[in-house]
């Protein structure tokens, strides 16, 4: 074991595929050796398609689900597009889980404000489901989820089920509603939801994940609502090639996203000029 290559992926088989949109699908995977992934919410795996390449993808399911795990992939480049050509029963390679996830122990007893933009829901969903599976251990759970347009909403059925639950609050928004689409919820970027909800800044931790441009606005609005800097937790994305702290691609100034992140406390990174 100790001499095993850190670059060798282990095989996993696709058990199920749920198509969300034209370019986003959820893949349920089972490790061929049946070892559970043992990930923390917020960690990622390196997904290999042999012949094409490898890409870092967040684990989207809660570790409480042991027999399989899920990843939500958006087709943008070589690996992610090839992923969408695979069928149930096909195999991919998995390395990891890697990185530092959300500190589920630390968050116990706290109120959690989840803020997701677009695909940012993928890593957050792992934590959301973890919290739901251990509901009594955590305080309030408030989800703010924004997409560009109604048809881009991911995990639609699950989101609807969240909205039905009494023990969580779930607010949705879209940037705009194109003609011909129907939408009953808020319209505007995800930041516009923040002033509309009520939370106690001293007991609340915000957990934020979304596209790079989203962070600055969300953080500013959260601070305006009185949230302390160290109550803001972020998951960041950078180019990655190795996932194990060697290739140098994921660096933000002196830190490595693949090792020290992808989950960071805002107070740790706010002074890094390259971070946000």
């Amino acid at each position: 074991m100790s001499n095993e290559s850190i670059y060798l992926p282990r095989p996993a088989t696709i058990k199920n595929i749920t198509k969300f949109t034209e370019s986003e699908s959820l893949f349920e995977l089972v490790m061929d050796d049946n070892r559970p992934l043992n990930h923390q919410p917020g960690q990622f795996v390196e997904v290999s398609i042999m012949g094409i390449g490898e890409a870092p993808i967040s684990v989207s399911s809660s570790p409480t689900k042991k027999k399989s795990f899920e990843i939500c992939v958006r087709a943008v480049g070589n690996v992610t597009r090839a992923m969408h050509r695979l069928k149930i029963g096909d195999k991919v390679g998995i390395r990891g889980p890697f990185g530092k996830g959300f500190d589920t122990e630390f968050l116990k007893g706290k109120d959690i404000l989840f803020i997701a933009g677009g695909l940012g829901i993928a890593p957050l969903r792992s934590l959301i489901n973890y919290v739901l599976d251990h509901r009594a251990d955590y305080g309030r759970a408030i989800i703010l989820y924004g997409c560009k347009a109604p048809h881009e909403l991911l995990f639609r059925e699950e989101v609807i089920s969240w909205r039905k639950r009494k023990d969580i609050e779930c607010h949705l928004t879209v940037d705009k509603v194109p003609e011909g689409e129907h939408w009953d919820h808020n319209v505007g970027v995800v930041t516009t939801l923040i002033p509309k909800i009520d939370f106690n800044p001293s007991t609340t931790y915000a957990v934020v994940c979304g596209p790079p441009i989203m962070y600055r606005f969300v953080i500013r609005t959260l601070k305006e609502r009185g949230l302390a800097e160290d109550h803001i937790i972020l998951s960041l994305e950078r180019r990655m090639k190795c996932g194990v702290g060697k290739c140098g691609h994921c660096q933000i100034n002196g830190i490595y996203v693949c090792q020290d992140g992808p989950v960071f406390n805002y107070s740790e990174i706010k002074d890094l000029p390259e971070a946000l």
Binding site: I52, G53, G77, N78, A82, R85
Partner: protein
């Protein structure tokens, strides 16, 4: 389903298509993974039903433009093959002269007026006429890179063509920089992918693969001057393969 592939040539030396044939033993493997439906250099048959069109050569006549547009309308993926197709290549050199001078220089006093075969205009790269999906740079193209492009397309993958300069491959080879030997190299602004073919053989890079996306031309000109060229000579260096970029 094997993708159907067709090769077409325009104004060129056909050297790049020869590189395809030079794949030698591998050519058998090539036809295992793709169906070559048209290839004037190698076969008589021709079919208009293809997925991937490789286009060699630059576009010099209105009738070529028409033919190229037809090819584009049929191909799902169009690949520019070689420097002539990608940047105009050597052929674009004549763009610094007037059409009249070119005609006279090339065809002398022969009567070419009103003959569409000789209706030349300023040479165009393929992407000046139609949209190009991928580029295989080089004069001629590099066999390994060509293999990479073909396998990538067959696997449904965007070929990873370098956007870094020749110096990168030159350094990996451990070469003595030819500037130190009194030669003038365009490696620092030229797109890599040839394995630094010329500097590895002690020659300066002439820039046959065209420029990287964001070349620092001013700095390269300063370097050429620092090592002893006049600004004029330095600019002249670029003309061979980068005429189009330099005239912008």
């Amino acid at each position: 389903m094997k993708p159907k592939v067709a090769f077409f040539d325009f104004a060129s030396c056909e050297g790049c298509q020869l590189q395809v044939l030079n794949l030698e033993e591998s050519i058998i493997e090539l036809i295992e993974i793709v169906d070559v439906v048209s290839f004037r250099e190698a076969m008589k048959e021709h079919s208009d039903d293809y997925d991937i069109a490789f286009v060699e050569g630059s576009i010099a006549r209105p009738m070529d433009e028409e033919r190229l547009k037809k090819i584009r309308s049929k191909a799902k993926i169009l690949v520019a093959l070689g420097a002539c197709a990608c940047t105009g290549g050597i052929n674009a050199l004549r763009n610094q002269y007037s059409i009249e001078m070119v005609k006279k220089g090339v065809y002398g006093d022969a009567d070419i007026e009103n003959n569409p075969y000789f209706d030349v205009f300023h040479t165009k790269a393929v992407d000046e006429v139609v949209e190009v999906d991928y580029y295989v740079y080089g004069c001629p193209v590099d066999k390994d890179e060509l293999t990479k492009v073909i396998t990538s397309l067959a696997l449904g993958k965007r070929p990873e063509i370098p956007n870094y300069p020749v110096c990168v491959e030159c350094k990996k080879e451990g070469n003595v920089c030819v500037f130190e030997e009194g030669k003038f190299c365009l490696g620092p602004v030229t797109r890599a992918g040839c394995g630094a073919r010329c500097p590895s053989n002690n020659n300066a890079c002439e820039g046959c693969r065209g420029l990287v996306d964001n070349p620092n031309i001013n700095s390269e000109l300063e370097v050429l001057q620092k090592y002893g060229l006049t600004l004029e000579d330095a600019l002249e260096r670029f003309k061979m393969f980068c005429y189009r970029e330099m005239s912008k």
